[in-house]
Assembly symmetry: C2
Homo-oligomer: 335 residues x 2
């Protein structure tokens, strides 16, 4: 299969979505794509690898899940800053073996189906990218997302103030719990019939919630929970120059995490890949219980950073305090 | 080495360049980078893989050359549409073995030095990206370039008209000739002391020439010669719905290509990776002999596309005609 045919396949699969998108003036097929940002907007850009045996396993993840997760990673970065997605770009390297077999071509088609389903849900088109033959027998992808937000209004990690409340969307620990079950179960590829209830296989980036937080000026700082609550909260604290206290009992546990019993808290604190939003808001803000259909839970507060005091503290219901260390995902230390 | 340290290393190496760039409102360190495009502009986006053993070999290319070529691929795409570079993003996966050794860390530093040197030349900062541990013992990079151009003015492949002259910048065949010499010589890494005169190791993207072509409205269509004159001219012809005639004797040969004697024409027609600009302009335009210090050569013209007539024809000095087939680089067919 020639590169041009693979590009054609991508183009065909995505043309409908891209042409509906007024932000994309020129999509796949020239040296560059052309985007027209709305006037008065700034542009947000994020890139995320999806590498076989690092971010997914072909024997464990369905192609639809790999495509979905690939796009979800980038969309979640846009969500955390309150941006409206404009366009996605995909660099994709595929082993020649895979392209030579109809089974392999089927894998690629299903990968794009998974990606496209999520793309349509968020009205974002594929506007370009690159294709290559993989130099190893591994599928290698890099997704690039561009979004827009009103100039100066993007939510950053650095805006939290002492006394701000700490909130999280949805629930935590579900992705780690589902992955754990997949790894400990029989080695077969999980075929989920529905996108709902699969926080690892089909995470739902909180685009609408992030946009509402920005539009209604509810949050002073925001990040997505991609590396785990403990690691991502540490990022928020460091960027804002603050410390934080987390109320252990307030952390919303995903139903799949709850089944882990003693392991539930660990999954929620350090599991990562939940793609929920973690944000700060002044204590005076009357926070809705739900935003865009997603529950919002207050789980703690920001306090001034003091020398020799821990960056993050976990408060137990009995009032006892424990230091919370960032133990979430870090690519180079975990493998 | 932890991922965060690698990110820090990248950030440090590039902060100076990024902070000088007014287009980058927020660089590395948040969920997304924030760019502020000039008002009245459209944004151009391109992504290009640089994969070990596909686009470079560690035993053949110096790290500086790999970094330079990685960025040059993206810059050349912007040049071909006449865009001003705004920011670069780099997704980089590195084998853990390489990170564990000081020699490997040296490789990465030199890679960034090569990239940064070219970035500074074109005033473009690194504004973000992703890092990961490579799932194979291979270095994997994806470069993303964003540029801006006045709305509606970007040069596309599709604007050429019948009767337009066909021009090329600089000279052709040099990259293929230098690579050929490297492959046939002793297997050692080439350490070029200067960036000049190394069309394969250190190609010079024609940013300033592309900007001038756009600003002075000299070209009706443009592409960069990345896949080879024969393949890229075919793209121009198809996008513009035209055929083309190329005067064989008019093709400017790179001095390194000329040394190939009988093979010189082949290198110039099909070699690829010269990163020159190939463009169309009305015959009435008085084309400068040089633009931004780069020679401009008329090598043929566009004619109407007729059924059963070849897309591209090569005209010999004696008036004889031969069909020119696209035989340039296509990843999936060449390997």
């Amino acid at each position: 299969m020639r590169e041009l045919e693979l590009i054609e396949q991508i183009r065909r699969a995505f043309t409908a979505t891209a042409s509906q998108d007024r932000a994309v003036a020129l999509g796949i097929g020239d040296d560059c794509a052309i985007l027209r940002p709305p006037s008065g907007s700034e542009m947000l850009v994020t890139t995320d690898f999806t590498l076989e045996n690092r971010h997914f396993r072909r024997d464990l993840h369905s192609p639809e899940s790999v495509g979905h997760r690939c796009l979800a990673r980038g969309l979640s970065d846009l969500a955390s800053m309150g941006a409206v997605p404009m366009a996605a770009f995909l660099s994709l390297a595929v082993p020649s073996d895979l392209l030579a077999k109809s089974q392999g071509q089927g894998w690629i088609t299903r990968f794009f189906n998974g990606l496209q389903k999520l793309a349509k849900l968020h009205s974002v088109g594929l506007a370009g990218g690159d294709t290559a033959e993989s130099p190893a027998n591994l599928i290698l992808a890099d997704i690039i997302l561009l979004g827009s937000a009103p100039v100066g209004r993007s939510m950053r990690r650095s805006g939290a103030k002492p006394g701000d409340s700490l909130y999280v969307t949805g629930s935590l620990g579900g992705a780690a719990a589902e992955l754990g079950a997949m790894l400990s179960g029989p080695a077969r590829r999980t075929r989920a019939a529905s996108l709902i209830g699969h926080p690892h296989l089909f995470p739902q980036p909180r685009i609408a919630t992030g946009r509402t937080l920005l539009r209604r000026k509810l949050a002073t700082a925001c990040i997505d929970v991609s590396d785990g609550l403990s690691t991502d909260l540490a990022h928020l604290c460091r960027a804002s120059g603050l410390a934080a206290e987390v109320e252990r009992a307030a952390i919303p546990l995903h139903p799949l995490a709850r089944r882990l019993e003693a392991g539930a808290l660990n999954a929620a604190l350090h599991g990562g890949e939940d793609y929920e939003l973690l944000f700060a808001a002044p204590a005076s803000v009357r926070m809705p219980r739900e935003i865009a259909g997603v529950p919002i839970t207050r789980i703690g507060r920001f306090i001034p950073k003091r020398a020799k005091q821990p960056l993050m503290t976990l408060l137990a219901p009995d009032g006892s305090r424990a230091t919370l260390e960032p133990q979430g995902w870090e690519h180079f230390s975990r493998h």
